[in-house]
Amino acid sequence: MTIEALSNKLHADLKLKQDPCLIQSKNKHFAPLVVGEFVPASQDFPIVFIKEQETGQFKSIALLGIEPGSNLFYSDKGWQGNYRPQAYSLSPFMVSQQTDEKDAILCIDSQSPLINKEQGEAFFDENNAACDWVSKRGEQVVSYVEQTQLTQHFINVLLDFELLAPQTLTLKATGKKETSLNGLYAIDEKKLNALSSDKFDSLRQSGALVAIYASLISMQRIEALVKASSKV
């Protein structure tokens, strides 16, 4: 990965290819999710929580497969889900925010296979100004970063209210060995129902309830994952 600030000097002649299969998600068995994605993502993927290896901090993810390295939604023919997780769909854009500066700088991973000189849409127009679609993508990335902070806040609330519980998924796909996925955490419905009215109300007011229920409902997608994995 080579991160460069997007500039008309460096990148004037470059184009971005379409990304029908979410190339960045290849061999990834999960996608990080921000809380605003929970509702649309819940139609396709189980939404669970895992700990960041280095820091032990929780993050929310969509399970894309039931074995490390296997993404059941990835295909050369195109993405196999309805929802496209932003963690991959925003690629190759990202923002860099310097602590002493107000504005975020839009960057790209210039090593991305989506970037080339022949195919796709140019980043800059004939006047060497960034195209409209680029600005739009930039706004999406900025909004995603803001959502990341909201998500951290959401997770902290779940932890404060002790709504997460460790969950080991023992899965058996037809014709395959039983596998277990460890290190997953899910929202505990019983604990949610046992919350005091005050606490429950505070979840409603902060808008967390819809994400909580989306995550609970999304657990139904596990079976679909297991079925899909037995076809691989």
Binding site: K51, E52, G56, L159, G183, Y185
Partner: protein
């Protein structure tokens, strides 16, 4: 309601012992509610605590968790680092110039020796011909060698990949316990000097008089006044039994050493290095090292002792102050007498070789809480039980520590004196005589409350090069395949786990920033 029901507990003395006892009792008895047993702690504003005990046993994790203290808070406030072993350097024999010898006493063994004992297979050369005993039965020595932590950030509070204990700043630890006891657990705190201990006609303590807070009465008194032993010793006249005929050290010279810089490795084990007239502890906290030379003043001058400590610490000792602490090694004839229990240094003190001080406080607390007598009539029986059990544990601890000296082949006068027959407890020599021809067995430890597990004895015996002949009844060691498979498994786990664990320093830095999760 019976007369003299035990409702009010008065603890005299702060420090680790006082506050740990106060917090434990108050938590267990739910003293926040006034109708329950109440705990008052009287602490002198003028007497400093000794504050040297800096190593714990893994039992401390359960103790802290049951007190409702977050491991993250504890580690941040008390400059804690994680400990997974003690490394004994040059205990086996006097080092040849430039060539140290060492062995590990580890907290985790791959198999519980009561289920499958790998020791005879190692001892008979079936496994680990070129590996030490510790390397053959545990991965933990490999982790210590590389300064790795026994857990990673993804482990929740109090959970480890390997078993572990703590190195801590004793002064900060007492403060943490004090705040928690007062603010969260309902312990009443009185800052005053005790001026008089009032007894009734039966010799029970009625109350203590103080200089600024007047009179504090109670039904049960806990003496945590350190070496002074104000209640049990001075007031109730329970005599002190010295064990200086068995354990010969009687002084410590201590020094706190800063790290060279913020990249210096932090050991994940206590390092104990034998010297001409004793041994040096080296405990790496998150923010500094604590070192101390425990020695026999009959075998070393104080000047020489300080010089040895300074040589050990090296150039970093320049400009650092050394503090001398006289040690009264021994214990009270009884720890519980009438309505008074001594916990901590007031009860007993032996050299800190196996970090037994805090560990035996926890044991004393657990027993006091569990057997807590309803009234005076119930006290005498508890007194006997308590005294018998703790006396057993202290004696076993003394034997265990003595075993380290007895097995050494060091040749200085201090070490030779340590091996003379008159200094050896019969209970210890009996066990060693048996172990010359038999493996260490679970039946050698038939008390539920043995302070040290079977594995601890194995690590010391084999680490020290204890000579054992297991040719008798060797037919029973027929499960060679299982032993060899286990040995291989341990070596492969050791390889894998090394790449997954952070160094002790990396982990401590991350705890500052993120903290462990509660689940």
């Amino acid at each position: 309601m019976t007369k003299n029901e035990t409702k009010q507990v008065v603890i005299v003395g702060g420090g680790t012992a006082g506050w740990l006892t106060a917090a434990s009792l108050a938590k267990r008895f739910n003293s926040v509610e006034k109708k329950n047993i109440q705990i008052t702690l009287v602490e002198s504003p003028d007497i400093p605590t000794i504050g040297v005990g800096e190593g714990t046993w893994p039992t401390m994790r359960k103790t802290l968790a049951s007190l409702g203290i977050s491991e993250t808070d504890f580690m941040r406030q008390c400059h804690v680092s994680l400990k997974q072993a003690t490394k004994f350097v040059n205990w086996k024999e006097t080092p040849k110039p430039g060539i140290d010898n060492h062995y590990y006493h580890l907290f985790t063994s791959f198999h519980d020796a009561n289920d499958f004992n790998m020791a005879p297979y190692w001892q008979r050369g079936e496994i680990g011909q070129t590996a030490t005993f510790a390397q053959s039965v545990s991965v933990q020595g490999a982790l210590c060698d590389k300064y790795l932590a026994p857990k990673s950030m993804t482990n929740k509070e109090y959970e480890g990949v390997q078993n572990y204990a703590y190195h801590l700043d004793a002064g900060e630890f007492a403060k943490l316990l004090k705040d928690h006891a007062i603010n969260n657990l309902g312990v009443k705190h009185v800052s005053a000097n005790v001026t008089e201990v009032k007894l009734d006609v039966d010799g029970y303590i009625l109350a203590v008089e103080t200089d600024t807070a007047s009179h504090i009465s109670g039904d049960l008194f806990v003496d945590c006044t350190g070496f002074r032993c104000l209640l049990l010793g001075e007031a109730l006249k329970v005599p002190f039994n010295s064990v200086d005929d068995t354990l010969l050290t009687d002084y410590a010279v201590v020094m706190q050493v800063p790290y060279k810089d913020e990249t210096q490795d932090i050991a994940s084990c206590t390092i104990s290095t034998a010297q001409e007239a004793g041994w040096i502890w080296d405990i790496g906290l998150a923010n500094r090292r604590g070192t101390g030379y425990v020695y026999s003043s009959k075998h070393s001058s104080h000047e020489r002792a300080e010089q040895i400590l300074r040589e050990y610490v090296g150039e970093q000792s320049a400009g650092l102050k050394a503090r001398f602490i006289p040690m009264n090694i021994g214990y009270r004839e009884k720890f519980w007498h009438k309505n008074c229990v001594a916990i901590g240094l007031s009860a007993a003190f032996i050299e800190p070789l196996e970090a037994s001080a805090i560990f035996l406080m926890e044991a004393a607390n657990n027993m006091l809480m569990e057997l807590f007598p309803r009234d005076r009539a119930a006290m005498a029986m508890v007194e006997t039980k308590y005294n018998d059990s703790l006396m057993f544990r202290w004696n076993k601890t003394i034997d265990f520590i003595k075993m380290h000296y007895l097995l050494s082949r060091r040749s200085e006068p201090f070490w030779l004196d340590n091996r003379t027959q008159t200094t050896l407890p019969v209970s210890l020599t009996n066990l060693l005589a048996r172990w010359e021809y038999h493996p260490v067995s679970g039946y050698d430890f038939d008390n539920v409350y043995e302070p040290f597990p079977l594995e601890s004895y194995q690590y010391i015996l084999y680490g020290m090069g204890f000579e054992q002949d297991l040719s008798f009844n060797a037919g029973q060691y027929g499960n060679i395949t299982h032993a060899q498979q286990s040995f291989k498994k341990i070596q492969s786990i050791a390889d894998q786990v090394q790449h997954k664990l952070p160094t002790n320093r990396q982990l401590l830095e991350k705890i500052q920033q993120f903290g462990f999760q509660k689940l």
